[in-house]
Amino acid sequence: MQNIVVNGRQLLPSVLAALLPSRLCREVEETVPSGDAVEELRLRRGRCASLTVAGRNLRLSTVLSGVEMDDLLLRLCEGSLYAHSETVCQGFLTLKGGIRVGICGRAGVSGGHVTGVSEVSSFSIRIPHPAPLLGEEIVHLLHRLSLTRGVLVYAPPAVGKTTLLRTVAARMAGGDRPLRVAVVDTRGELGYSLSSPALLLDLLSGYPRGLGISIAARTLSAQLIVCDEIGDMKEAKEIVEAHNCGVPLLASAHAADIRELLARPGMRLLHESRCFGAYVRLFRRPDAFDFDYDILDWEAADALL
């Protein structure tokens, strides 16, 4: 199995490097500056591929043809497209190691629902990186809230919300005073690097968010529920129910600022139900894999509305 390793760094996970064309892997090796890690790899049908490294987009010269893109989709699906119908129609695949692949192309639609994607035009491959030292502030915040109310982390895409949630889940489920943590891993990304046998962690992999949160609260007696990318009204109602069971939720959402976040009906419902004791805006530090936090408690957020 091919490993792209330069100066002791593994640039691409081996499971991914084995699936990609070798000329692309070679160009990645030649392009990534020393000391940097690949955050994202984008492949486009008939256009140049690109990398995101330390927040910068780097154009590659490799262009994948339509046949190569369709072959790659089949390989990403382990040779069984039907086995990943649902997630592909939702626009993503998750590979081993928590690698999320965003997919778009020509959608087949029936009754307003996507029934298939053909002529894949883009793959957006997000590569996770372990970051065990992050999230101290969020851990303290959860304890400060006495584990009775949750914390919502928000930021635009590709800042590192999922990485942060993963790290905090591991910290809360481990250590000297571990909690029973349930991770609702709808897209298969959160479970990466949470395999340590010392963690008191229950992983609900592939469950729809609302159902997973409900199961975690009612049947798994979780002390903390961790969930990524909450958003719609249905999920919000189920989260409110879980909150009424007394289980705090650590979750993430896409938004650039608190007003935009709380303008959404689902988020507004959660805010009015006081599910979250604090809202944390995440900022990625330039040229470093670390975060700055802008923490707003419930009262301060309410005053802004």
């Binding site: 089949l74 699906c77 382990e78 040779g79 069984s80 497209l81 039907y82 086995a83 119908s85 649902e86 592909v88 129609c89 029934t115 298939g116």
Partner: protein, 159 residues
């Protein structure tokens, strides 16, 4: 030297009987392999319908008896095409072609389309298997008797 003739007659008759038995066993094996592949395709369809398992895992989870009937030695294979390539096929030419076509397209379509495809190939393969099974007694008798008859004729010619 006078005992060479009886020995020769016995040998010819024995060859005739053994050839007949071998051909009859071949016919039974052919029928069993056809039934095995029908069972395999049904298993694949069921696993896709109920669990949407990838092809490799479907083959790995298949009952050993079904694979043995198909003449497959190992199920540690990535897909059906690899399985067919590594198996000696005794089934009729038409069924061979259908199996290879099915193997080539298995896994390349979304769930509903894949199930329809499984149904399409099963509809075409099952009648071939049914014909083989229905003709088996007649063919067994024929392949058993024919070599023995030829051996008997040879013996009569030698006498």
């Amino acid at each position: 030297m006078h005992y060479f003739k009886p020995i020769g007659i016995v040998l010819i008759l024995a060859c005739g009987v053994m050839a007949g038995v071998a051909f009859a066993a071949f016919e039974r094996r052919r029928c069993r392999q056809a039934e095995g592949f029908v069972a395999l395709l049904r298993h694949i369809r069921l696993q896709i319908d109920c669990f949407s398992l990838p092809v490799g895992r479907i083959l790995a989870s298949c009952d050993g008896k079904i694979l043995a009937d198909c003449g497959v030695e190992t199920a540690e294979l990535p897909d059906l095409s690899a399985l067919l390539a590594g198996t000696r096929l005794y089934v009729p030419e038409e069924m061979c072609r259908l199996l290879h076509d099915f193997g080539a397209q298995l896994g390349t379509s979304y769930r509903l389309e894949q199930l329809r495809c499984c149904d399409y190939f099963l509809e075409r393969i099952i009648p071939i298997c049914d014909r083989l099974r229905a003709d088996l007694p007649k063919r067994e008798r024929m392949v058993l008797i024919l070599p023995m008859a030829i051996a008997a004729i040879l013996v009569l010619m030698l006498l």
